[in-house]
């Protein structure tokens, strides 16, 4: 069975110059799609990936990441909406590149679908109420 997961990888400084993702492909036959990458020399690296493969290979791949010192966390935990600050104006809707904000047609409440979110962060400062927060 093929599964697909969106994960956030935190690379410690020592690993930034190593081909970790190559090993995920070569040794564990995982497909990857880079959603966001931020690698600064001499600092920690951050990579948001969609990983697809068999459950067995996925588990082994994640275990490999843990062994080499890459911390992984599921993506959906990273972006959340401060419900008290959100005014449901809808300014975020056309800013989000993946359509993670949708309008409930009758009431016009704005819904945040975190499974669609790729944690690009564009909504954070585009939201006048500053209701979107990132926890990376």
């Amino acid at each position: 069975m093929v599964i697909s997961r969106r994960v956030v990888l935190h690379f410690p400084r020592a690993l930034v110059d190593q081909p970790v993702i190559y090993r995920l492909v070569k040794d564990y036959n995982l497909m990857f799609n880079i959603l966001k990458a931020s690698v600064t020399p001499q600092e920690e690296g951050l990579l948001v990936l969609e990983l697809s493969g068999t459950q067995e290979n996925y588990d082994k791949g994640v275990q490999y990441l843990a062994e080499v010192g890459v911390e992984t966390q599921p993506l959906s935990r990273d972006m959340y909406r401060n419900e008290e600050r959100c005014t449901h104006c809808g300014a975020c809707i056309t800013i989000c590149p993946t359509g993670a904000f949708t309008l409930e047609p009758r009431t016009r409440w704005v819904r945040f679908l975190d499974e669609k979110c790729i944690v690009c962060g564009l909504c954070i400062k585009s939201c006048p109420a500053r209701a979107m927060e990132m926890a990376i």
Binding site: C89, G90, A91, T94, I95, T107, W109, P128
Partner: protein
Amino acid sequence: MSRTIAEINEKIRRGQAVVVTAEEIIDVVKQKGITRAAQEVDVVTTGTFGPMCSSGAYLNLGHSTPRIKVGGGTAFLNDVPAYAGFAAVDIFIGATALPDNDPRNKIHPGDFNYGGGHVIEELVAGKDIMLVAVGYGTDCYPRKRIETLINIKDINEATLFDIRNAYQNYNVAVNLSDKTIYTYMGVIKPHLGNANYCSAGQLSPLLNDPYYKTTGIGTRIFLGGGIGYVAWHGTQHNPSVLRGDNGVPRRGGGTLAVIGDLKQMKPEWLRGMSFLGYGVTLMVGIGIPIPVLSEDILRHTAVTDEEIFAPIVDYSEAYPQMKPGILGEVSYAQLKSGKIAVQGKDVPTASLSSYPKAVEIAQTLKNWISKGEFLLTEAVAPLPGVESGITFKPLKERREV
């Protein structure tokens, strides 16, 4: 059919007034027709919750020991400058004021994380605010500097006085250029990437009373979660604007100046806002009751999003350069469908005014009136109407008298 405000108030006191929102009245009229609806409904409530920059609050700080004359000096609230050109301890904090050390747009687009709008929100929320004020010292006001925490519950008066709120209609902002622009209408993407609008449409107060028949000076309203009043017509009030056959302005038309006691308002309905690359402001909640005094007044409250049109304006060139001309007109129904057509292209739409919150305001006002807690007022004087000939003038620059 005709009715007086005194008669409506008598029904409100007895708990018998029939009150519906400007959204609900649409279906009532569809089912029953104008005549029956006007006979049955006493009051229609409206609502809007959007960013309104010409908002601010007067504060009377109280006198310290020894006394200080802040008037003519300087005053800061949480580092945000307040206007101090009044008597000794009256100051005014405006919604768009920024701390002196805010980097503004030095690195464009600036963040504008905190300013006057946020100070007002925190004051209303009952948070302590740091006041730093400097005076020049006089015989009767010897002190020259004060630094103290203040709280809304301790100061003498806190009066919200917004010189322009509740615009009758507004532009739809688009961007024809090839780079993203950062405006008071939000982030507008290049090549018609999005279209932002800002009105509650069929729920918005002045779109339901297009000729200002019942909304006038002294009208009691929902303001910032409490009770306020219409003080005057707002700045840039333009009753002479282009109107549709239904009387509804097709451009930004009338505006309101509103006033109320900040101490009884709620932070939920006065929100500090940060517009990327533009500045800070205050989101203000306003709801106005419309007494159904005639069929004509009721007909106007039944206006739908399909019948209200807004102009599409290019904010990359036409707006900043004061170039006349629009890219077309769209109805709020089209805007709310999620996309509009501009120059043959489908453009996704977004709102800056919160429709769900406007509904909540209209419902709240409806509940207050239904429970007999909120009585309607007779306007003391009307707002300038079409007959006034008032228009919206540009500034003509000149050096010679």
